[in-house]
């Protein structure tokens, strides 16, 4: 078993090293939330939410952290796995005695790495440039941790599931990118969720991003803001259940749809 964990460790290191050697990944994937924060933060710097002292940037950073979960795992894996299926990475690995879990642990490690990088950059730049208030209690930091962890797992599993239906990296990218953008608009990242049309709220309430963003708001907005949410609560338990359900559903779907070789090579 120790050997298996050693393989997890080495695969994770390899994935992260490859990530850092890919400049496009560093600039576009890892820094995108920071770019968005700088753009929106600069434009809406002095805008306050309603008649409160909370800035739009404070609201926005919660949504960007939730988006970061999607970028770093869903979008990342939805594009990277079809590419590795096409270029023979997966074929070589499955032809070796590597335990299959090693591959997935490596991918999850890479996604975690991207997310941690994004989160630190967002919070540091947000705090020092846009006066974003960081969570003030240990409990809130713990909430931030479990929301991030569960969000990463759910998004990663959905990314792997998505990859099984993509023909190649190009079509995966062409599909995954607008999907993420769509949910950012409808799940309360770019707009205040409570102000969206009801039908739009109803659609996005089925999917994970709304719950990740809402839970993140529970960490980054004052408690009194819970009243502004549609359910008058940040609904942590419901968010946990829904993200957990998506994780389990996606894991089952992956189990039956994941394929190491391109469809025409088996």
């Amino acid at each position: 078993m120790t050997n298996l964990f050693a393989l997890y460790y080495h695969r994770a290191r390899l994935e992260i090293r490859l990530l850092l050697r890919d400049r496009n990944a560093v600039v576009f994937s890892m820094l995108l939330p920071v770019f968005l924060l700088v753009i929106f933060g600069s434009v809406f710097n002095s805008t306050k939410l309603g008649n409160t002292n909370v800035t739009f940037a404070q609201y926005f950073v919660a949504g960007l952290l939730a988006s970061g979960l999607l970028y770093s795992s869903f979008q990342q894996l939805a594009i990277a796995i079809p590419e590795e299926r096409t270029n023979g990475t997966l074929k070589r690995l499955v032809g070796s005695p590597m335990p299959p879990s090693v591959y997935f642990v490596g991918k999850l490690a890479a996604s975690t790495f991207i997310y941690v990088f994004q989160a630190i950059a967002l919070l540091a730049i947000g705090h020092y440039s846009y006066h974003i208030q960081l969570p003030s209690t240990a409990t809130l930091w713990l909430d931030f941790l479990w929301i991030s962890a569960l969000g990463l797992v759910a998004s990663a599993l959905l990314g792997i599931t998505f990859s099984n239906f993509a023909k190649n990296a190009k079509s995966a990218s062409a599909l995954a990118t607008p999907i993420v953008l769509f949910f950012q608009f409808t799940s309360g990242v770019f707009f205040v969720y409570a102000n969206l049309p009801t039908w739009m709220q109803d659609i996005s309430a089925v999917f994970p991003l709304k719950w990740m963003a809402q839970a993140m708001r529970g960490v980054f907005l004052p408690k009194s803001f819970a009243y502004q949410e549609v359910a008058h609560s940040f609904e942590f338990p419901k968010a946990a259940v829904i993200l957990g359900a998506w994780s389990i559903g996606a894991a089952i779907l992956c189990r039956f749809t994941f394929h190491w070789l391109p469809k025409n090579e088996s």
Binding site: L14, N87, P97
Partner: protein, 280 residues
């Protein structure tokens, strides 16, 4: 003992029959070449034996395991060099080799594997910067890193220049000397001739010959082509009695026969005849 036993292997892709009722066996320590033109079904056969593709029919044992149900301990014992791969790009040769070495219980050392394929000077180079031939050699290094008993090589030298091909052949001979059983597919006859103990010729998914490289040549060794020029047109006759043909011609031309050639069938011609007669 047989390293590979195949009986009645068939595989179709939709209406296209890629492999049809194929038998083959490879003894331990033997180098068998599957020879055939592009699209003959070589890769389908090899990838079924490697456990990648499924089959429609047939009995298969590869190191006593049915490759349709590959196990990790079985994967420890085989090495695979695929026909094409464009992965590993931003890793160095050493990193890639080291990474794959970890998956095996008794691997070669990284230096040994890199040295074996002659990439020592490139060990710190990114895989994406290697030439085609160097990349192929890295594929072999990864194929043999786990000390396989059985090595699959699928068209390993396609696109090589003649010099690179010779270097590669030396490498395969070294592995043979170590006692590794090798299954080599190629569409180059000289490659099969240089490396294989036995040759199977496959065209359109069917086995049309199972012999030694020498045997392949001798199939029509007794047939000789006599060529000459008559009214500026080259004439040819295939015969088993060339001397008599030449004598007749000498009488007819009353002396020197214009453009006379007497040609024994080469291995190449024997192969081409085999492939063409099947496709005619």
């Amino acid at each position: 003992m047989s390293a590979i036993e195949v009986r009645g292997l068939s595989r179709s892709y939709g209406d296209f029959v890629a492999v049809s009722d194929l038998d083959l066996s490879i003894e331990t320590g033997e180098c068998l070449s599957i020879l055939g033109p592009n699209g003959a079904g070589k890769t389908t056969v090899v990838e079924i034996l490697e456990g990648y593709r499924h089959r429609d029919a047939g009995e298969i044992r590869v190191l006593d395991v049915d490759p349709a149900h590959p196990t990790r301990s079985w994967r420890q014992r085989i090495g695979i060099v695929l026909q094409s791969a464009s992965d590993l790009g931003e890793l160095t040769v050493r990193e890639a080799t080291q990474h794959f070495a970890r998956f095996y219980s008794n691997p070669r050392t990284v230096d040994e594997a890199i040295d074996l394929v002659g990439l020592s000077e490139k060990s710190e180079s990114r895989v994406s910067r290697l030439s085609g031939g160097q990349r192929r050699r890295l594929d072999v290094a990864l194929g043999v890193i786990g000390r396989p008993e059985l090595l699959f090589l699928d068209e390993p030298t396609t696109g090589f220049d003649p010099e690179a091909r010779r270097v590669f052949w030396d490498l395969i001979r070294r592995l043979k000397d170590e006692g590794v059983t090798i299954l080599l597919t190629t569409h180059y006859l000289d490659e099969a001739d240089a490396l294989a103990d036995r040759v199977i010729v496959v065209t359109r998914g069917k086995k049309v010959a199972d012999t030694t490289p020498a045997g392949l040549g001798s199939r029509s060794e007794h047939v000789v082509r006599v060529r000459w020029k008559e009214n500026d047109v080259v004439q040819e006759r295939q015969t088993t009695e060339p001397t008599q043909v030449v004598q007749e011609l000498a009488t007819r031309f009353a002396g020197e026969i214009p453009g006379l050639e007497v040609v024994r069938t080469t291995l190449e011609q024997a192969y081409l005849e085999l492939v063409e007669s099947d496709q005619a």
